[in-house]
Amino acid sequence: MVSKEKMRQADLVTAVVLLIVGIAIIAHALTMPMEGAYGGVATYWYVSPALFPLIIGGMIIILCIVLAVNAVREKAHSQLLQIIKNYRSNRNISFSEKFKSSASRVLIVIAYISGFVYLYIPRTDFFLNVLLFLVIFIGTFYPDSKRIMSIGAMLASSFALLFIMLIVTGAADFLNNIFPYSMDVFVLIQVAAITIIFHKLIQQHQPERAQKLFTVILVTSFTVPLVLVPLFRYGLRIPLPVEGGIISIFNLVYYLLR
């Protein structure tokens, strides 16, 4: 938990941001039909779809003002101004080492999850995506070494960039037309490449624990999708987001065995 003083400063910032959100809600709500007939229902002010958003927007604004006033009373605004002034006069302000490391960890986690969800899941085989996500995520954080973390993050983002390039240029569609699972193969190559690089890195930086670390990374990354995918696909009978090359093999095996 942060100090009370810092919290009041944060309050002032969020109050202003949310105040704007509240105003935006009201502004948008005012464009909705207020009176007249809509959808077969005679509309008075109290039936209007705008009624509830107006109440919500209004309450948010009121509560934000209360919050802001409270913060100002405790002198949060002058402290904030002071911070900004300090920052301006002294650009190379140094954040504490601890703050830097935790901030970069937060950013990496968010980036990994976003990439997994926005970039890979809608496009390539679910099994491979899970495998890739786990190898990268566990590989980045589990060895507990800053160097491995930053290299892992860099690797992942450069592969993601390459994937984006393939999609934007249309190469992904082109390759998929030639061979339906091209992009799955691309992900598979990523998994292989990243595994090999992590293997090297771990041996370099954590030689005494290398064997154990690497086993844990590989075993978990493979077991989880190997359990989850058949469980959801055949046990719960939930079709997965994209069923590419690997899940087709699963299907083949499943129908052969049955």
């Binding site: 809509y38 005679a42 595994t195 009978r237 090359g245």
Partner: protein, 335 residues
């Protein structure tokens, strides 16, 4: 070691993709998926689960029933089912309300991209709470004419089958009610019990228990024929108000559909299984116990029915001003 695994995986992937390419085999050779576009436990869901259970015995494969809900008029599930491979292994569990999805802006195609199989539906009935002052339809209509727009009528949301029945009822009897929308028939019926609304229009299947338990008083069927629930005969509203015949009946049509582009051999098999399933005792008993009128329509008959429903729903919604897409632009004919 790792490299050899990699290579073997690649080879397997290649082989499977070829195997999948070349095939016309015995249908069905694997499980069929039915995407029900309405929530679990609702009428469409229950009917699909029962008919699919019977059909799966006839076809000899599992039929998985899943619920994909949301959107306008079930559009999320409709798009989901429609965008899956049209190989005959995907069915969509739908009802008459889905025909509005296109004009509401949720689905880019008309109903004619499907081949329909209609299990049946339950007819609508006008009812009042047990303590209501109205005992016959005539008393209700007289009261409504004396104070236009003051009697509260509950039904599920704007554009639902029950709402359209209410509109038709108003038009045919030249009355005007204060329509209070609910998000489903069950809450509307609750409101009739608590006295929040004076009359409700929902299907007899949904009301049957409350009618039999004496909590609701049925006044008239919105159908040309009378209907009997446990020895209690509910008269048809057409007897005293023949003008209703111009607007009614609008009956629920619950069932499922397969994409029109699916291979013909699959559609033939499904049709045959559907026909047999409709004849089973389980389906017949279900219909009887739950006050559904079984239709068992498929092929041209079913498609024509859904087309007609689409035009009547679409144009009514357009007139009400709640359609987002002009029915003309979708080439939906006027009813």
């Amino acid at each position: 070691m790792r490299k050899s695994i990699l290579i073997s995986v690649l080879i397997i992937t290649l082989i499977t993709s070829f195997v999948f390419g070349a095939a016309e085999r015995e249908y069905p050779e694997r499980d069929i998926t039915t995407v029900v576009v309405w929530g679990a436990g609702g009428g469409t869901d229950v009917i699909n689960r029962i008919i699919m259970a019977e059909m799966s015995e006839i076809l000899g494969v599992n039929i998985n029933v899943i619920n994909v809900t949301g959107g306008v008029a079930g559009s999320v599930g409709m798009n989901d089912a429609f965008n899956r491979p049209k190989d005959g292994y995907v069915l969509a569990g739908m009802s008459e309300s889905n025909v509005t999805s296109a004009v509401m802006g949720g689905f880019n195609n008309r109903v004619d991209v499907w081949d329909w199989f209609i299990v049946g539906g339950s007819p609508d009935v006008v009812s009042v709470g047990a303590n209501s002052p109205y005992n016959t339809l005539d008393e209700l209509i007289d009261a409504a004419k004396a104070n236009p727009g003051s009697i509260r009528a509950g039904a599920s949301g704007a554009g639902s089958i029950h709402h359209l029945n209410l509109l038709a009822f108003e038009n045919g009897t030249d009355t005007d009610f204060n329509f209070i929308p609910y998000d489903g028939s069950a809450p509307a019926q609750n409101a009739a019990l608590t006295g929040e609304v004076s009359i409700i229009i929902t299907s007899i299947a949904e009301q049957a228990q409350l009618i039999r338990g004496g909590q609701l008083k049925p006044l008239a069927m919105l159908e040309p024929e009378a209907f009997t629930v446990d020895g209690l005969t509910i008269p048809s509203s057409f007897t005293n108000y023949p003008e209703l015949a111009q607007y009614l009946p609008l009956r629920q049509s619950i069932g499922f559909a397969i994409a029109k582009e699916a291979p013909q051999y699959a559609k033939d098999k499904i049709s045959e299984a559907f026909k047999q399933a409709m004849e089973t005792q389980a389906v017949k008993d279900f219909g009887k116990n739950n006050f559904y009128i079984l239709a068992g329509l498929y092929g041209d008959e079913a498609n024509t029915l859904m087309n007609n429903l689409e035009s009547s729903f679409a144009w009514t919604l357009h007139e009400l001003g709640s359609a987002r897409v002009n029915p003309d632009s979708l080439n939906i004919p006027k009813p």
